[in-house]
Symmetry: C2
Subunit: 683 residues, 2 copies
């Protein structure tokens, strides 16, 4: 800065409000750097990348105490004119590296010009993702070789990155060294590098080099590796934008539907763990191909992937036999985050792509729970917050900024539509919403891919293409809760007969009854039924979930929670009302029950786009107090007691008419209801 | 240490002489640690590894001012007794971790108990290698998992290494994590780890784990990757001992005998560099198999390899197209040392073995020259020292502690026996020493694998198995030098006819003559001849070598050097006398010409066994001033001028009788001799 700051122009950057006196003739980019303003640049101020665009504001800004006129910046120069001609510069924009400051001025930095721009998340309560990816692009001009000053091309590139970008401890991957010489010569000693900042103690690694200024982008994958489904989001590592999301079934299902059966498979079959590892890695490669094709992105430009998974999936992904996770003391091979190469686990992305696997919390509370904690941040909450991530295993977090507890509960795959007679994964044609008229006991429903209810005109037409193929996880919760509300199911979970319920939709099925939700058999379509087995499967699953939450509440010494966040693969679609009717979650003001969607996947995305978040979650997991459901006797007690489906009460005043109907109890021996529960505990 | 040091026993460790008062009851191992004495231990003082053995000396040591009696140490204990019974403890030895100090004592630390023991090198002037390998073994006791304190097995292992060995920033390789859990349980939570200390900024990586105390050793390879031959030494990374040395021809010879023809091959053939890379990596895998078999070592226990190579071989090994090395400004892709994984270059050793490649000095002066500098240390010399590493390319270093210059000279493969009519690599049956009687012109010789000269009784019998198969590099130098001394070759390098020389061994061959060194054709064996072409090839090679040395001398402004060190694949066998007769090296007192053997290979071995030496050579290369022969006009001048074979003079008084014979000149037009040289320079 100049020696006479009082007479230098005053520059104010918005929206940060950062201000200071800057010597006349300084470029806007340099001024931003001097004032610590977050203004992007990949080309380092050479008028190539246009990332440093700003919008000057002119006028009399009384609140800011400044008057800004068009003469405050130097005139439009040749570089800007050429750029505008070639690619177009938005009205009112200037290139920060070209425009020089002449007088007092207010400069707006649009979001896309901020290095640490925010990634927009739709939920109001969600934490924002600040862009700070581990892998970034840098454009540099490299000194040419000189026989009298011998040095390798790599060393001159490293020096350029240090001098032009301030990067310390930069090294090239071996493959980078192999490709470097032609790139430097083709780019006439100007190249764009992708540098990975997550390697070891403060080291940075050059992963890729492009001749000249690289116009394209680089990509990263956030993957939630679940027991039943694998979900991936492909993100642009520069903008943070999600370009494609895709999922597939975990092919390990053929080795066992739940985690413990996979651990057993490994115990019983020598090499079984390697089989499962190979299966999941193959599926991941399919997913990578699929998601890259959907976004029309070269898989070779995917430079990073972040994984979250439960401990068993975590171990199987990494090629670790999960056998120790099947028996106390449930020792993880490693609980720490892992930074490895994609090729070490056989993933086909950029040949030197890096993988970051989030840390685990404990033997039964994995990197997926850590990711949920990162995404939903109970540790930053003033309210007491219960977060349940519903999947084949439920990860449960309870706490606030004072203390966070975590456990995992073996809900089984029923919530994901597996082990349900008409269950299927969430895909077009699957029933996802259900209502049952409490008087007529007639259902209406909606299927994925269609906005209409089944009793609305045009529904048959609109669903002709997809058909009505089954019930997805959120649908099964709704239908069973609605059956309970309509008096078709008693508190013990037993489906009544047609005589007991007064509807011919309750049909005999073996020694029990089933509810006929949809019958297309006349036209060769399926009969979609909710069987007694389905209700039992959901009862087991929801009891496990509820018991886990109760166990944490006991540990914290509380009877109620302030907020409930429902997360999980189908968390976005789950209905808080129905979850409460079913007794999946403890009682709570229904206004305070929200859906967080795939919070584990979001946690993965946060870790992908913000490398500081990796350090944050690594520290957070050490501070989460973990409760082991498998050895807590109270978990079993809560589990048994939670088997019943209590009558829905206060939260649903409009349902009162239904609820005053005498609650039928088809079979007292099923031990359902509060009375049954108490009796059992005393037995 | 105790509060009353004056009354504590005085302990003196020999040979270091380190002394101090130590509280009575302290173990010898702890005393050594307190006094900073270099006493080894792998098991950390648990009486398992026996690496901490010491020999107490008893008596009245007046010079040391101490009297030591057998009561100075605690009595032989159970651990020592058991160890002695099981494996035997040498007479007079104690286990340092068991024996406790009771009174004043002198303790000898035998070489094998020193961590930083010296590796014995035969040459008196050679620098000693101090053991300080990058990969070491550590025995640890790991805490068992505890459900209430969740942590991964890896984290508890890392903590044990930190607490029990003071290691910071320890991380496990992915494969280590995969193998860790069974090893910990099999070893009942006691394991031995191999930890690599060369990864990145102060990071240590656990590469391997064995249940319990691992009785075996770990190994490293030092490899000199030459254009013509590949030589490897397999070393024990604990003792430093060379267990096996082996070599093979570089299969890249089929793509071109010298470096420039290989660069040309790459230029002319798309994918040619990849072909050559693949060929050399295959050969290296053969070498690894061969050398491991010879030493009866599992190749999977070879945890490290260090490579030295000239720049073209360096690039081809690493998979970098060497095309830039074929044209000014001879830019290296990288001049820095490389730390990579063996699997990145397809080498079959331990699956996570690490590779260290020494840095290059410049485009024509490679990691092999850096290794020679490390081994011969001209930078530490008071004398002005000329080091020539003779191979297909000669690396030449000139300097002393003030300044070191380096260049590389394209000698071609003649010195290695290639391009020589009867040439072969140094192997049993190859002629390696030659004398020609100056009067009778009759030769006598020795072959590799036999101690007898060819005119001694029993020679025919002794060589029956190997035969006499050809002439190796050192043999060709001797025979041509002897031919010159015997007057069979004129100063211009022309072989005389039988009439001119007076011996029927000079036979016509085409338009020139050849010298018949050995004729076994009567019994179906070979005729071993030295042809005019052979003399020409050696003349070209030695001129290049001499010109390089002269060029450095010019640059330093000197006419003579104090010492000459001959190194190279056949450097151990080269005869200084004959090298000087041929004019390979500048004149120097013959007493000051020594052979260093394969100095590049030794440099590789130093870097393998001493990780500080890696930092040393990385720094050294930046301080060596490099001279580029390819663009120095004076190199061409020296080269042309050095073509003649000057008459040998002063250094060989006993040869005077030969030398006073009139020096024949068969063909003045060949322009040989001093006169010819002068004329050329003026032309």
């Amino acid at each position: 800065m100049s020696d006479s700051p009082a007479r230098d122009p005053m520059v104010i950057f918005m929206p940060s409000g950062k201000r200071g006196r800057i010597a006349s003739g300084t470029t806007v980019l340099d001024a931003a750097r001097q004032l610590g303003v977050d203004l992007d640049s990949v080309c380092g101020g050479r008028g190539i990348c246009s990332k440093c665009q700003v919008s000057p504001s002119f006028g009399d800004f009384q609140k800011l105490g400044i008057r800004s006129t068009p003469e405050a910046l130097s005139e439009w120069n040749k570089v800007e004119a050429r750029y505008d001609e070639k690619r177009g510069l938005k009205e009112g924009r200037r290139l920060g590296c070209q425009a020089q400051i002449r007088a007092d001025v207010v400069l707006d930095v649009p979001p896309e010009s901020q290095v640490h721009r925010q990634v927009v998340r739709k939920r109001a309560e969600a934490r924002q993702i600040i862009m700070d990816p581990a892998t970034r692009l840098y454009y540099v001009e490299v000194a040419e070789p000189d026989m009298h000053e011998p040095s390798g091309d790599l060393e001159r590139l490293e020096r350029a990155l240090t001098q032009q970008w301030g990067l310390a401890h930069v090294k090239g991957d071996l493959r980078l060294v192999q490709m470097l010489q032609p790139a430097l010569r083709q780019g006439n000693w100007k190249v764009t590098c992708a540098v990975y900042h997550g390697a070891g103690l403060g080291e940075a690694r050059i992963m890729q080099v492009w001749p000249g200024y690289y116009e394209g982008s680089i990509y990263g994958l956030a993957i939630d590796l679940g027991s039943t489904t694998i979900a991936g989001h492909l993100c642009d590592l520069q903008s943070g934008e999600v370009l494609a999301s895709s999922g597939l079934m975990n092919p390990q299902i053929r080795f066992g539907e739940d985690l413990m059966s996979r651990v057993s498979y490994s115990m019983m079959n020598p090499g079984g763990d390697a089989e499962m590892t190979s299966a999941v890695r193959q599926a991941l490669n399919t997913l990578i191909q699929q998601i890259a094709a959907e976004a029309r992105v070269d898989p070779g430009l995917i430079l990073e992937a972040v994984f979250v998974a439960n401990p068993v999936m975590h171990h199987l992904l990494l090629g670790i036999d999960p056998v120790e996770l099947g028996q106390a003391p449930f020792a993880l091979a490693t609980a720490s985050s892992m930074s490895i190469w994609a090729k070490e686990i056989g993933l086909e992305m950029h040949p030197d792509a890096r993988i970051y696997v989030l840390p685990c919390i404990a033997g039964h509370v994995g990197a997926d729970a850590a990711a949920v904690a990162l995404s939903e941040a109970p540790n930053q909450s003033d309210d007491l917050m219960l977060v349940v991530d519903v999947g084949t295993n439920a990860e449960i977090l309870l706490g606030d900024r004072n203390k966070v507890l975590a456990c995992s509960s073996p809900t089984g795959p029923a919530f994901e539509g597996a082990q349900i007679s008409s269950g299927q994964r969430a895909a077009p044609g699957a029933i996802e919403r259900v209502e049952i008229d409490p008087v007529t006991k007639e259902p209406r429903f909606r299927v994925i891919g269609c906005e209409l209810w089944s009793d609305e005109p045009g529904f048959a037409e609109a669903t002709r293409a997809t058909g009505i193929t089954g019930i997805c996880g959120s649908g099964i919760i709704e239908v069973i809760a609605e059956m309970r509300l309509a008096g078709l199911v008693d508190p013990g979970g037993l489906i009544g007969s047609a005589e007991q319920t007064g509807t011919p939709r309750c049909v005999p099925e073996g020694r029990t009854h089933a509810y006929l939700l949809h019958d297309a058999s006349a036209t060769g379509g399926p009969k979609i039924m909710v069987t007694q087995g389905d209700v039992r499967a959901i009862q087991l699953a929801k009891s496990a979930l509820y018991a886990g939450a109760r166990l944490l509440m006991d540990q914290l010494g509380v009877d109620t929670v302030d907020r409930v966040v429902l997360a999980g693969a189908f968390g976005a679609h789950i209905s808080p009302k129905h979850a409460m009717v079913l007794g999946m979650i403890p009682d709570c003001d229904i206004e305070k029950v929200t859906s967080a969607g795939n919070a584990a996947g979001t946690g993965a995305r946060i870790a992908l786009l913000n490398s500081a978040a990796r350090r944050e979650v690594e520290s957070l997991v050490t501070r989460i107090h973990k409760v082991e459901t498998a050895i807590e006797p109270r978990f079993q007690e809560h589990f048994v007691a939670a088997n019943a489906i209590p009558h829905a009460t206060d939260p649903y005043p409009k349902m009162t008419s239904t609820l005053v109907l005498p609650v039928v109890s088809f079979n007292a021996a099923s031990g359902g209801g509060e009375g049954g529960r108490r009796r059992r505990r005393r037995a």
